[in-house]
């Protein structure tokens, strides 16, 4: 089976300086893969290449190949809009749009041409349930999304990403600003979601990686040091640098 995301000798440089080098990594269907590593290791850069959000940063140059569902992301023929729908992203800082909860979720589907109120209603309810937010907001769907608490905003962002039925979910430190209860709710949602999709979870929280993911990749200073089953990597890391990081010696 084709891996859902596959990096082969993938590298990124920003305005001439290399931020990511020689990454070989496969993400398999239906798994949660977490990427850990200290700040500046290239985790977020890697994630933002998968949905070509790297386009927003002028001076980004890539080498090697990066494919989503077997199709090269950086080939000239790539339909970036379609790619971003297949690879949905949730950001580190919750960024709901300044409109209602309902409209935040309907935004993406409406862009794809869905106009039917019934279908939009169905999408809103389904995705809010999927992100464990429905019970908290079902009576105020038409109030502003920016008025929710941070944890609720982040789950709203997860909902609106799910509204596009992505194949892979890219999470960029989604719990970095959240309290433990909100974090638990997001992790709960992820366990349910992996039945139908694949998750790439960039996290600064080593414990979260250990708790929530099937496999873990360790990035350090622009290189992928190792990747393996999460249990295996945390108990028997092959590389000394991995061991140093997970045991808290740096980072």
């Amino acid at each position: 089976m084709i891996p859902i995301v596959e990096a082969t000798g993938f590298g990124v440089s920003l305005a001439g300086s290399s931020v990511l080098r020689g990454v070989h990594l496969q993400v398999h269907r239906g798994e949660i893969l977490s990427i850990i590593g200290p700040a500046g290791s290239g985790k977020t850069t890697f994630l933002r290449c998968i949905n070509r959000l790297s386009d927003l940063v002028p001076g980004t140059q890539v080498s090697g190949t990066l494919a989503v569902e077997g199709r090269d992301v950086f080939s000239p023929g790539t339909d970036v809009v379609d790619l971003r729908r297949r690879a949905g992203m949730v950001f580190a800082v919750p960024n709901p749009l300044p409109r209602s909860i309902y409209e935040n979720i309907a935004f993406g589907p409406k862009l794809t041409g869905i106009r039917s109120r019934d279908r939009l209603d169905e999408i809103v309810e389904r995705t809010l349930r999927a992100s464990v937010l429905w019970e908290e907001v079902k009576d105020r769907l038409h109030t502003s999304g920016t008025k929710l608490s941070g944890g609720q905003q982040q789950r709203l962002c997860l909902s609106r990403t799910l509204a596009l039925d992505p194949k892979v979910l890219l999470l960029d430190e989604p719990c970095s600003g959240l309290d433990p209860i909100s974090t638990a709710k997001i992790e709960e949602a992820l366990q349910d979601l992996k039945k139908t999709l694949t998750v790439v979870l960039v996290t600064n929280n080593v414990k979260q990686a250990a708790r929530a993911s099937d496999r873990t990749a360790f990035f350090l200073m622009g290189e992928m040091v190792e990747v393996g089953e999460t249990g295996e990597l945390f108990t028997h890391p092959r590389d000394k640098r991995t061991n140093d990081y997970i045991s808290g010696r740096f980072g």
Binding site: N51, L53, L56, P58, V81, D82, R84, R85, G88, M89, F91, V93, N95, P96, L97, P98, R99, F107, G108, L111, T112, C157, R160, T161, L164
Partner: protein, 284 residues
Amino acid sequence: MKQDSAIRLILLGLAMSSVAALAVITLFIFREGLPIIFRQGPGSFLFGSDWDPGAEPAAFGIFAMIAGTFAVTGGALLLGVPVGLGSAIFLSEFAPRKVATILKPALELLAGIPSVVFGYIGMLVLSPFIRDHIGGSGASVLAGSAILGIMILPTIISISMDTLRSVPRSYREGSFALGATGWQTTWKVTLPAARSGLVAAVILGMGRAVGETMAVIMVTGNTALVPKSPLSPARTLTANIAMQLNAAVGEHREALFACGVVLFVIIMVLNTFANWVAKLGKRA
């Protein structure tokens, strides 16, 4: 400490002196202008269409000038707002960073060109062009609107760009990540988020157009009649004051100050409205 309080006092004095200047000017205009408005009755002063200070008895109705001001300003907005907002959107959302950093100061330089130069160009180029290719005498509302439309560009572009740039980057990223194109992101996310600032930019541009004097005198023909078409000549409130104050005495002079009162009120209302709208956006 001692030095601090001394400096504080000096700065306070300087700040108060600019406030005092505003207060004195306001007081002066109103003292000179208000009496005639009430002597004649605000209705007949504002809505009387006869302005003839030389007649016996003199007639002071400024409706033609109010109409002229609004006609020229409206035209300026019609021409300047689409160009200004379009430029601001292009420069902040679509242009490469390098292009924007060169063009923005260049456009702001437009604000530094003396208005008499704009008027001169209008007189020598624009009015003859209108006369030869469109019709009328050339000195017209259209000429005034076109010149003012250009003159308000720096105000509109500069404020709009600042507003657009202050829209959080995370809104745009969120929109792109949901599969929106560049234009969809601009239209559905960035512009709505910047709406109040854009409205403020337009209103401040409008204030600039209402207050402009010299360029308008030079291209509009200065006829104190309600303009019937864009090709008719017109006279604005500012032009009326500037052209006649030199020779005016007695009631005529008072009536010109009364025009100043009307202008003052219009500008005040516009600025207050702009501030209010801008604040409204910050709260949401």
